[in-house]
Every structure is written in structure tokens, then in C-alpha cells.
Symmetry: C2
Subunit: 494 residues, 2 copies
């Protein structure tokens, strides 16, 4: 979920300055339209890691916009008045009126998250609180409130650096509190629980936006643009807002730097090394699937990737290591008539493996947010809810002890072209290349954006995506087998 | 929630026969249209108390409709295949395809409910499961599935009678199992948890329908009509179904017998008795609000009723017993401009009392589902979600230790007329009667239906409605004061 926010987004000063003036003017304009029309309020929740610039973002927004029309509320520990009343009371009190902007620094999410991080609640109680929040936000949305939730992110090592830097300078040392260091010590606990929280509360009508908080220019521009876009989109609606069908669009990174582009696609790996390691890995994998503890688990492998990225070859290297009675390959193409008559996830649910079994999906449920999105087979509202539904599906598998691993096999456009050509030239491979493959290639950039969104919204620490550089197929196969073996070993304690 | 299902609905044989033939034909007709159009499936969940006729209902539907197009699935304890997979897997497997009807005898709701009843789960884990269900049904609804959930009800004493009757006859004795008697012993635990479950999962797109199960004719007609109405309504839509905005209408009882009509409005009570008891009750109430334990609680009194039913007089008899520093009366009229700019419940949240305090609402948040419904001030989808939002609000108060009591003061149309006239004749009471009161009177029947729906959908054992027969104001005031004192005593252990 935080992948794209950790690849180091930067916007240089001159680019920033050039855009800031226009952005500011546009923001002021929509703010006045919001005020003048007085039809709905905007509620902004600012959350994130310590040191990721939450306070600065709040100040920036107040500086850019007309602060007289912004109501800022910071929530720390509840006071007596609040403690005597239901949990949500103090948030109700600070809600913005129609035409206004409310900005919450911390919110009910902080209560839920830190009660969990500090073990004041167990996982069920945490989920119950998230359920409370979901109902609250659904009610706000139904009453017309536009809700935007920002998570400003900062990787663990960068957080440490930032806190040390601030401490060193006498002018900023006061900014670093004991709580900051305490939270730094809890970093992975905060991250994992925040991820769970955001997964369950990321709705179309009140979406989470994860922003890389390291570079101030990037952070400000991203937040400002998202704000502008959300307000413009809502103000431009020619019908009454409906929480179900009107969804927020996804904003691309302000510096146009995509996660996939940070992957080094060419990796050196010789055929000899490959042969040697392959045998060892296959033996290791075979042993792991025979491990007595594996009988309490199942393994779900999901393969996606560019056309001709080598999914089939990689899958064969896995099945060679498996007992034929234990595994099943499910090739996913267009849904059958029977499948089209059912809710869309049904065709994947039917292949959920039992204990001790392995199911390998060659293409998967991610078609919903890839091909169906890019080709327009599904409406925006439908593929948008797909992220939520997919997360829900995978976490149900995982809560049932399944080990779920997802691989994206990435090749470059050039590599794909040469593979396409060689397929056309090689008789027995000719069936592998179709008109559709060439058509998909034309939409290379659209797919790239869809893949990055997919990874950001569905990679969680419990059910992660593994990005596989696949220009070199030997490297890719070894990487995949190693990932599977390591995940099994970690789970089985083997 | 079960109020209207416990007032003894009966439909005689000849009425039943007369209607059954037409209903059956109409049902077959919509079933074929459903099949022919093949646009969406219908999923029926049949739940309820033991002995309330769940099996009979299932058979009845299979008899009325074309059973070849109905897929019936009964869910008992999960088998090995199911136990190895996520909880929801076995329900996914039995989902009906587009154009078909799926009927579940027991479902994921039974799993959640009985795990809680048998204390296998605690309250948080129960809520988490309900949250899982809510997401599942939202997904179904978004994918077009029409979901109807029936709860066939039977009061505790009637359940006992039914089980004994079945046992006595050798021909039916086999129907009564040990599990039935076990559930009978858990009756109130099942009822309370079912109520909680239905409250949290009663959505506009997948509503619960509570049906009095005692009389077979009434039960069958009610279920059949609800089915017919839901299918007709959906098939008649001239746009693609949207889970957010298209809602199921509320079906009136098949015998047109309303809860309010079961109330005996005239009650004998002399002024002398009143004076005597009033003083004692006021003293008792005063003492209770000074009880040391009351400092951990608060008291929220909600008054609704017919115009001129005597709310003001009743409230005065309460406040006479209270320390002025402890209570506050909130008269609720049309929302102010400030209030209209906020989500609708905001104007009630702002008056939530702190610990040791009493807030008396003279008219309440129930205006949303009464006047706003009847006068068309709110759209159907909006007042429908009001039930859910009101329940949520009140249960947040209650979870925060508030004692919430709701009173409906009911008078007859004749009594109201004579009070209106006497108000017009008495100088100092003249301000109490307006044109609007006369207009409301014209909509007497609409209000009656709205009041009954309101009570059915918002009276829970934790936050109950008290229906007060108020033709005799002395009786009404004593009843109200007694109810308050008893609720306080129960809560404070005083």
C-alpha cells in the first residue's frame, strides 16, 4: 500500500514555483465557488507518519486558501467533556458546515490506530471501531459531505534521518518530542495496522490518498492537486451527488514517477547459474509442500504480467517441483457464460484450494482493475470497488491460513517486441501470439498506470505483490521460486 | 424490532384462499420474467425462531413457484471441504445465477448468531463478523443480486406451546429435536443478539423483513407478497439498479393490523390516585438522579406522540422532580439555518448530555422518519437510511452508558379533536393550536403507518420504545414516570 510512496518522489524548486502560482489561484477559485454555492462541505483528514509533514501540509493549505473559510481542528487526547460522551461526539462538534472546509489534524482514525498499536484493543475490537468509522463516513457521504483522507508517508529509515536532523538544529529541536521517538520505535506496528485500517476504510465515497511525504515540494503539489481535482469534480456534477455511484478519480503522482519505472528490468543471470539453482530450489519447494505443517495451510499463487513476460515458463518450473495430486493450474481468460451469470469474484472463489493444496492462477482476479479498466469493460465505479473487494477476498484467504503470493512479471517494451517477433517466427510458438497481444501493446502506458495503481491499492504486508524484473527469464524464474520457498519457510517455521 | 410480530396476526382460511390463487399466478409471472430477462438473481435468506415456520415457508415458495428455477440450499454445520476454506466459501458456492432464485435455509447469519449465542465469540468478534457480512452483501448488491432476508418470528410462550403441540402428536413428534428445546432455553439470548445483528445489517439494498410466524396463512401471504413486490419493483426499474439509491419499500402487514391499534388508549385512572402517586414517583425520581452511581450515567428522554397528546404536561411532571442544574429541555422544531448546513443528526449530537445529566427532547430525531417521510421533505432513500442512522446514534449513546428512553404518546382521533377544540376555546391555550395541527390531522393514517414502521425498526431491547396510552393524561404521566424510575433502578441497581 505504501510502495509508490517509498520510491523517492522529488519536485525541484523551479518546477514547484512554476506550478504553485496557478494551483493556488485555481484552489482559491474553487473554494469561493464551494462557499457561494453552499451545497456541501469538504472534510479533510490529515494523517501519516511522524515527520512526514502533516503540520506543514495543514499550514500550506491554510496559506493557499482563504483561512477564514477553513475550520481547523487538532485532536489530541479527549478532554473531560469529550470523555463523558460517546467516542464520536468531539468529531461531530467540529464538522464543517456546507460551503466550508474542515481540516482535522488527527481524527477518529488516530484513536482507533493508536489504541491498537498500544495494544489497548485487540484485533476484533480494532475492526469493530473501523466498522463504526465506516458507518459514520457513509452517513457523512450520504448527507453530501465530501471526505478526503490523506496519509503522508515516510519510510522508516527516512523517518529516523528526519527526526535526527530536526533534533540537531537548535531552531527545530523543539519539534521532536518523546512521542515521535516512541512512534519511531513502533514503526512497523503502526505501518501494518495503518495498512489494515486503510484497506477496510478505503471507500469510493471517502478514499484514502497516500502521499510520499519526504520531499516538501512533491508533497504539497500532490495534496494541492488532489484537493483541487476532488472539488472541481464534485462541483462539476450535473446531478445530486450519490455516494454509491460517484467516485473520486485516482490522481497520478505529481512528478509522474511511477513505481514500475523504479524497477531495474535487466538483470544479469547466466544459464549455468540458473540450472544449478533451479534444481536446488525445486527440491526445496517439493520438501516444503510435504512438510507436515503445510497440511494446515494452502498456497495460492497469482501470476500477472506483461504479455510474453514468461508467466507460463515460470509456472512450469514450479509445477515440476510439485506432486500432481497437490496442485492445480487455473488459466484465466474471458469469463464463461456460466461465470458471467454470477457475481464477478465467483469464478475465483470456486477454485479456492483446500488444506495442503496449491492453486496457481495464470492471470487472475486482477483483470478487473487491469484489462477491464483499461478497455472500459467495467464502469469506473465497478473497477474502483474492485480494489476493495479484491483485498477483502485475499484477506479472507489469508485469515483461513492460505499463503497468498502475487507476482507481476515486468518486461520492457523492447523486450516484448523481440519476443513477439520470435514467437511469430517459431512454428510451435505461433499460437502464443495473437492480434490482441499487438493491440494491448498499443495501450502500454495505460496499462502501466493501471498496474501501479493496482499495486499501491492491493499490496499489503499480509498479501504482498512481488515485482519481478523479467527481461531475463532465468533471473525471473529463480526470483519467483526463491520468493515462494522463503514465504513457505517463514510460515511453516521450516 | 419484533413488536409488530407479536401482536397476533391472523388471516382466516377463506381470505387466504381467495388471495392465494392470484398471488401464485402473479409470482409465477414475475419468476418467468426474471428468468427470461436474466439480468439479476434473487437471493432469499430464511431465518427465524424455531417453530416459526421456516421449513414450511421454504416448501410453500417451492410449491407456488416453478421449483426448477429455484436453487434451495440448507446450511448446517460445515463439512470438511468447507472447514478447510474461508467462512464464506460455502455460501459463494450456492449463489444463484442471473435469472434464478436462490433460497438459503440458514446462512452466514446463523453462523454469526449462534457462535455468539453459544459464547464462542465475544461481542467484538460478533460485530466483526457482521462487518464481514455487510461487505459481502454490499458486493452482492453492487453486482446486481436482489437480496431479501426474512426473519420469521414467534414469541417465547408461543414457541413453547408450538413445540409441545408438535411433540404430543406422534405424526409430528419427529419435527421437534433436542436443538429446538436447547434454542428455546436460549430464547432471550437469541432474540437480543438477533436484534443486534439485524440492526447492523439492515441495509436499504438488503433489508430484513420481520414476519409474525404464528399463523401459517398470515406468514405465507406476507412472505409471498413481499417477494412479489420486491421482484416487481426491481423488474420495473427503467435504469440500472444502484445499490445506493434504489431501496425496497416497506410492506404493510398482510392483515392490515397495526401495532398501534393493539394499544388500549382509554385507561381508567382517577385524579386522586394520580396526585398521590405523582408525589411519590417524583420523590423517587429525584432520589435516583442523586444516586452516586448516576454520576457514571446520563439520561436521555425522547418524547414523540400525536399532536395534543400531552407531551409538554408529561415533561413538566418530570422536570418538577429534577434539580435545575442537572437537566435541559430541547424543544425540536424545524432545523435552523445553521443546522441545515450540517449532516442531519448534528443538531441532536450537539445536545448529548454529559455524565450525571438529563436531556429531555420534546420531539426528536424521529422527525426524519415521521414528518419528513409523510410530508415528503426527505427522499425515500434518505428517510430509509434514517432508521439505520438513528439506531446507530442511540446505540452509541447507550454504549457510552446513557440510559435512553423513548415515549410515544398515543391518543385517539376523537380525543385529539376534543382537545383541539378545547384549546381553541381556552384563551391561554390558544397558542398551542395552529393550522398545521389541523393539516397533520388529515394525514392521520399516513402517520399511523409511519409510527408503526418506526417502532418496528428502532425499538430494541437496549433502547426500547414505550407506547403510552394517553387518552387519560393522568394515566400517561404516571406510566411515563414509572417507566423512567424503573429503568433507572434497573441500571443503577438501586
Amino acid at each position: 500500500m505504501f510502495e509508490s510512496a517509498e520510491i523517492g518522489h522529488v519536485i525541484d524548486k523551479s518546477t514547484y514555483k512554476a506550478e504553485e502560482a496557478a494551483l493556488r489561484e485555481a484552489l482559491l477559485e474553487v473554494q469561493y465557488e464551494l462557499k457561494q454555492r453552499g451545497e456541501f462541505p469538504l472534510l479533510l483528514l490529515i494523517h501519516g507518519m511522524d515527520g512526514a509533514g502533516r503540520g506543514e501540509t495543514l499550514n500550506q493549505i491554510n496559506e493557499w486558501l482563504d483561512p477564514r473559510l477553513i475550520h481547523t481542528a487538532a485532536f489530541d487526547a479527549p478532554n473531560d467533556d469529550a470523555r463523558e460522551r460517546p467516542w464520536m461526539w468531539r468529531y461531530w462538534r467540529e464538522l464543517p458546515a456546507k460551503g466550508r472546509i474542515g481540516m482535522f489534524f488527527g481524527s477518529y482514525y488516530s484513536d482507533a490506530l493508536f489504541d491498537r498499536v498500544d495494544s489497548k484493543t485487540n484485533r476484533d475490537a480494532f475492526d469493530k471501531q473501523l466498522f463504526d468509522i465506516l458507518r459514520f463516513e457513509r452517513m457523512l457521504a450520504n448527507d453530501g459531505v465530501l471526505v478526503l483522507k490523506f496519509w503522508l508517508h515516510l519510510a522508516e529509515d527516512k523517518q529516523k534521518k528526519r527526526l535526527k536532523l530536526l533534533e540537531k538544529d537548535p531552531a527545530t529541536a523543539w519539534r521532536v518530542t518523546e512521542a515521535d521517538w516512541k512512534h519511531h520505535g513502533q514503526y512497523s506496528r503502526i505501518k501494518n495496522n495503518a495498512e489494515h485500517m486503510m484497506r477496510l476504510t478505503n471507500t469510493a465515497y471517502a478514499p484514502w490518498l497516500v502521499v510520499d511525504g519526504e520531499d516538501a515540494n512533491y508533497r504539497s503539489l500532490t495534496v494541492g492537486r488532489a484537493l483541487l481535482q476532488a472539488l472541481q469534480q464534485r462541483l462539476a456534477l450535473d446531478h445530486v451527488w450519490q455516494a454509491r455511484s460517484d467516485v473520486a478519480a485516482i490522481t497520478p503522482p505529481a512528478d509522474n514517477k511511477l513505481l514500475l519505472e523504479s524497477l531495474q528490468l535487466d538483470q544479469a543471470f547466466s544459464k549455468d547459474d540458473y540450472k544449478q539453482q533451479l534444481e536446488a530450489l525445486q527440491g526445496r519447494l517439493n520438501g516444503l509442500t510435504r512438510h507436515p505443517k503445510f497440511a494446515e495451510h494452502s498456497l495460492v499463487l497469482a501470476f500477472e504480467g506483461n504479455d510474453a513476460a514468461g508467466k507460463g515458463g515460470a509456472i512450469r518450473r514450479i509445477t515440476q517441483a510439485l506432486d500432481a495430486r497437490r496442485y492445480r493450474i487455473v488459466p484465466v481468460a474471458a469469463p464463461t457464460e456460466e461465470e458471467r451469470a454470477m457475481p464477478w469474484l465467483w469464478r475465483f472463489w470456486r477454485h479456492v484450494p483446500g488444506k495442503g493444496k496449491v492453486t496457481i492462477f495464470d492471470r487472475t482476479w486482477y483483470g478487473r482493475v487491469l484489462v477491464e479498466r483499461v478497455e472500459g469493460f467495467a464502469e469506473t465505479a465497478d473497477w474502483m470497488r474492485g480494489y476493495y473487494e479484491i483485498n477483502d477476498f485475499e484477506h479472507q484467504l489469508r485469515d483461513n491460513n492460505a499463503i497468498v503470493l502475487k507476482f507481476w512479471l515486468a518486461i520492457s517494451a523492447d523486450e516484448q517486441l523481440s519476443r513477439f517477433k520470435s514467437r511469430e517466427e517459431t512454428g510451435f510458438k505461433r499460437f502464443k501470439i495473437t492480434e490482441e497481444d499487438w493491440r494491448n501493446r498499443d495501450k502500454w502506458d495505460d496499462y502501466k498506470v493501471a498496474v501501479c495503481d493496482m499495486i499501491d491499492r492491493t499490496s499489503t504486508s499480509a498479501v504482498p505483490w512481488t515485482l519481478v524484473a523479467a527481461n531475463n527469464k532465468y533471473y525471473a524464474r529463480i526470483k519467483i521460486l526463491t520468493t515462494i520457498c522463503e514465504a513457505l519457510e517463514a510460515k511453516l517455521g521450516a
